[in-house]
Amino acid sequence: MATRIEVLAPPEDGRGKTLEKALKKQGKDVKIRVVDVYSSEHAMANDEKFVTSLVNPVTQKANDLPKDFDWALEIGFLPGVTDNIGHTTSELLALAGADNDNECYSSRLYLIKGDLSQSDIERLSESLSNTLIQRVSIKTAGEFNADGGMETVIPKVHLDNKGVVADDVDLNVSDEELEIIGNQGIADSDGSRRGPLGMSLLYMQAVRDYFAKEARPAKDIELETIAQTWSEHCKHTIFASPIDDVKDGLYKGYIKRATKEIREAKGENDICVSVFSDNAGGIIFDDEYLITDKVETHNSPSALDPFGGAITGIVGVNRDCIGFGQGAKPVINRYGFCLADPRTSPEYYRDSAKTTPVLPPETIMKGVVEGVEAGGNQSGIPTPQGFVTFDDRFVGKPLVFVGTIGLIPRTINGKPGHEKKANAGDKIVVAGGRVGRDGIHGATFSSVALDEGSPATAVQIGDPITQKKMSDAIIKEIRDLGLYTAITDNGAGGMSSSIGEMAEQSGGFHVELEKVPLKYPGMAPWEIWISESQERMTMAVPPENTDELIALLAKRGVEATVVGTYTDDERAKITYHGEIIMDMEMDFLHDGNPETPLTTTFTRGGEKEPNLPAPTDHEQTLHDMLGRLNICSKEFISTQYDHNVQGSAVLGPLQGPGRVYAESSITKPVLTSEKGVVLSQGLFPLYSDIDTGAMAAAGVDLSVRNAVAAGVDLNQLALLDNFCWCSSDEPERLGQLKRAVEAIYEIAVKYETPFISGKDSMFNDFKGFDKDGKQVKISAPPTLLASSIGVIPNVDRAISLAPKAVGDLVYLLGETKDELGASEYYDLHGKLGNNVPETDSHQNLRLYKLYGRASRDKLIASAYALNFGGLGVALAKKAIAGQMGMDIDLSAIDLPHEKALYSESTGRILVTVAPQNKAKFEKNFKGFEHCTHIGHIAYGNRLNIQNVLKADIEKLDEAYKKPLREY
């Protein structure tokens, strides 16, 4: 008998009030009561002690709903979807005396009073729920009363898979059939397909030949494992394949080579310790610690379930940190979103029948913002730095970047903290959450209806608290006991990846799959093996340590299980209840994928340079520029993200009394050290419409320049590259890619800023249908996100963007050229143009070195690295940040005013300097031709640009903050 407990929140509840306010804006006057609902089949669920533990007697009431409402709307989870509240409720039930294996489920009921139609309620429910993962139930008050309330729903998973075994798959079939298996998946006995393996015919033939040699049919789990291991997601085949005349491929031929050359050139000043070999990259922080960094993307899941995709992304990249070396402590999170305009409602569908629309941009924005918020805040990791970039082509496939910086002692138990090795004989221990069908064939999700029998397999929702318990236990307690020899996280491919990769160190593995703890019975062996259920770490543990390790984790509420043994017999072997269901050569599994050489073409984009008339009202133009989505304030995100937990924030996301959303941050991860970690990022997707080389170089330059402007020395800076490309099977897109990679090789080597980690996502294309049912393909602009991380010797050297004192002198460092191609200014006028900013790395290097000296000598009062919207926007942001007037003279810049103001030439920094430092400052830059004195900080509340505009700072402030304020 199922129990349903309804806990009524007070009328003043913030959640209800906020919803009322939102509806009021749509002209609907309603009153909303929020009811938290808990359901369980456990016999003890109606025990009074348990019920009481769910109710705050000061404000809440249990099972006593008001009668005065017109509509009841309830939202709960579908079977198999992670229900974190339900999980905590289960723990409370256990505290009240029930056994630990009880299951509780949560849902939320809204009782709504007001004049709303059925379609109003449906619209409200759409805005509050996602039918991919949630069930919705709507009743009128009449129905509610007639039925005696809402139904008790127990979303338990029932899988009709009893006694499942691994199936044989016959690969001695025609090439056509092989291709079908690769594209659509293994056929079940009823003829239906299990979902794509994503393997080309060439790959399928290699697999067929391997099993012909082994003289036996392949098992389904073997095929699924090979597909995971060889996937673009895990193997990065596009970056690894020979491309044109570059035999080593883009990764080894450019990116890895850049790092190698830089490290050699820097010699004993090399800051790198661990690059490209682990879950994150690691550089020196001080004599005691390394800092690690990793940036991931979680694009496809975020398109379907923005909240789930983003939270899974952030807690996933946290695990990359926990899985670095012997385990690093997550100390900073960062984020980045590329989205469509949230104020628009473009109409696109995933299917030709137009039944599954893409989510509205506003829903996606709110969801991904919230996902990173929940994941980061609940994990107690500060999130001080990030960005949001908008372009309508991100409508079907938003880009969601998530990054985590870690801290790890350089020596742990007398061994280098970044080293690890699973040895033959070590036990395979998996710790954390249990395994369900989560994330199986995630990438292939389509509009399959979800019911009890098919839990939401593609969509995952992170559980930050389960992970936090595990992370604390491992990083803060167990790591330093030396109980494990290696650790890694479970991400894409689940255990098939984590165990497969670690087994490369020992030379093989033997997993006993029946030992893996499951969320629910009935899963097939291949599902258990490739499931991407979250919050799991895999460790290699010497047999004599397993009991102690498992007991220590249990004391912290974390389940851990021995699931097998690392071996050195060069075999990847799995048994299931004693039967061998996988037995392959390690070599074949990891390196058996045939090479696929790539060829490319490249055509520069762009249009004729437009001949725009000069603005008649420069002040209005500046307002328009400040209000553009790529420029305006994203403060609503910063205040939701806990940016000062761990007590480490030095320079946060909002700078100056005027709270300008900043592009770099400084954190002091070790409270007793004076050193700081400087972070920044740079990306210019729009520039790809003209030249991906310019796009990539500008991104790297900005991430470096932001960090340098904030006070870090160039030689203490490292980079991460994240490529988000589209249609990467087309020679032209590959040509764009090659050009971008060449560009970042050149600039990184010039700056001597090594790449320490990177990731790529190659098919950010939306394929669907428009409102007329016509087939469309919308490709995200080719995008490189460059992220920088550096160490500043003392946080008192930090430089913020806000001007500090009236009378200070304003200098523009760097050259302003006629470079408005793909700029925000041209885009404001609907133009693309041709003169995309070209990055002069030689000139920039000179500037950054000179700037470094000036910042070491503390000659700079404030600094801002120019980016979107150029000098005009930079001046306005400075005036807003400092809430101070400025007098500026552009006559030294030999361009028309609008070009001087809005050119996006890279390599420029706008600084203010105290008058007493004028002589020293100018001497510092002597011989550098692009150090231009353009004005001073003034009394009053105006930004005054001589012969151009006199703008009220209050109005600039409003133009800058208004567009996204209400989100």
Binding site: P10, E12, D13, G14, K17, T18, L19, D36, Y38, S53, L54, N56, P57, V58, T59, Q60, N84, I85, H87, T88, T89, E91, L92, L95, A96, S106, N377, Q378, G380, D463, P464, I465, K468, K469, D472, K555, R556, G557, T639, Q640, Y641, D642, N644, V645, Q646, G647, S648, A649, V650, L651, Q655, G656, P657, L671, D796, A798, S800, A802, K804, A861
Partner: protein, 272 residues
């Protein structure tokens, strides 16, 4: 012998390290203890003079912020905790710790009736997490707040809104339980966002029990204990440089922890 601070951890609490650092910086000894270890060995409470429940997200705020963790303490540790507060000890609950202590009924505990839940700390009026710097006016004489008049420290919470019955509010006011209120330009914020960041009734940011030895507050003193942590650090640093001055190392937040240290120095002198 200096006093010993026990800082709780586990199940998603996450500010234990910086909170311990604050105590240690103030000259106290301390250690971080997982709640399960304290339950297993409750004697640890007997050896402590200060109990700190730090900020965090215990149980993910599920079923109400601080609720589940409070239930766990109540079921497994309540008697020992009663003994602890009956002694001449200090207790502080910060942010999630504030929600936990309120749910435990350690505050306001009228008539020393510890365990009665009278105040709720619930969803912000904005229904949004708020991470921002606020100003506080100190309004009672808890030993934690001795000599402190105002504080500029940050809040970071999704559920920081104090709610209670009118009777309880009246009594809180009358008996001097309200320890700090949010202010704008030195005056109570009168509910105005963002000065009052959560819609808390009567701008309440902190309350104490009758003795003042148990302080529960939503803002984070440990995130505003050093000058370099402050939101105006860049401005202050620049000004000091121009004037040839050196900035003080500490900021408002450290005062609470220094007061705790001083409380036990004084107590020791009395008994000596």
């Amino acid at each position: 012998m200096t006093a010993n601070a026990l800082v709780l951890a586990g199940y998603g609490l996450n500010c234990e390290e910086e909170t311990l650092h604050a105590f240690e910086y103030a000259g106290l000894k301390g250690s971080i203890r997982h709640i399960n270890d304290v339950i297993e060995n409750p004697k640890e409470l007997d050896n402590a003079q200060i109990l700190a429940i730090p900020g965090g997200f215990s149980y993910g705020d599920d079923t109400g912020a601080g609720n589940a963790y409070a239930q766990k303490i109540k079921l497994a540790l309540w008697d020992k905790l009663q003994d602890f507060i009956a002694r001449d000890t200090l207790t502080i609950g910060i942010c999630n710790g504030c929600q936990i202590t309120a749910n435990l009924g350690l505050v306001p505990a009228f008539d020393k009736n510890y365990g009665e839940r009278l105040v709720a700390v619930t969803h912000n009026l904005t229904a949004r997490y708020q991470c921002r710097w606020i100003d506080l006016k100190i309004t009672n004489n808890s030993p934690w707040l001795d000599g402190v008049e105002t504080m500029h420290i940050p809040v970071a919470h999704g559920e920081g809104r104090f709610m209670m019955s009118d009777d309880t509010l009246e009594k809180l006011k009358k008996d001097g339980h309200i320890a700090a209120v949010y202010t704008k330009d030195g005056e109570p914020a009168n509910g105005e966002f963002p000065y009052n960041p959560n819609g808390s009734v009567a701008d309440i940011a902190a309350i104490t029990d009758k003795t003042g030895r148990i302080l529960t507050l939503m803002p984070h003193p440990e995130r505003g204990m050093f000058t370099w942590q402050r939101d105006d650090y860049m401005e202050a640093k620049d000004k000091a440089q121009r004037e040839g001055k050196t900035l003080p190392e500490t900021a408002d937040g450290i005062l609470l922890f220094q007061n705790a240290a001083r409380y036990f120095e004084v107590a020791q002198k009395k008994t000596a």
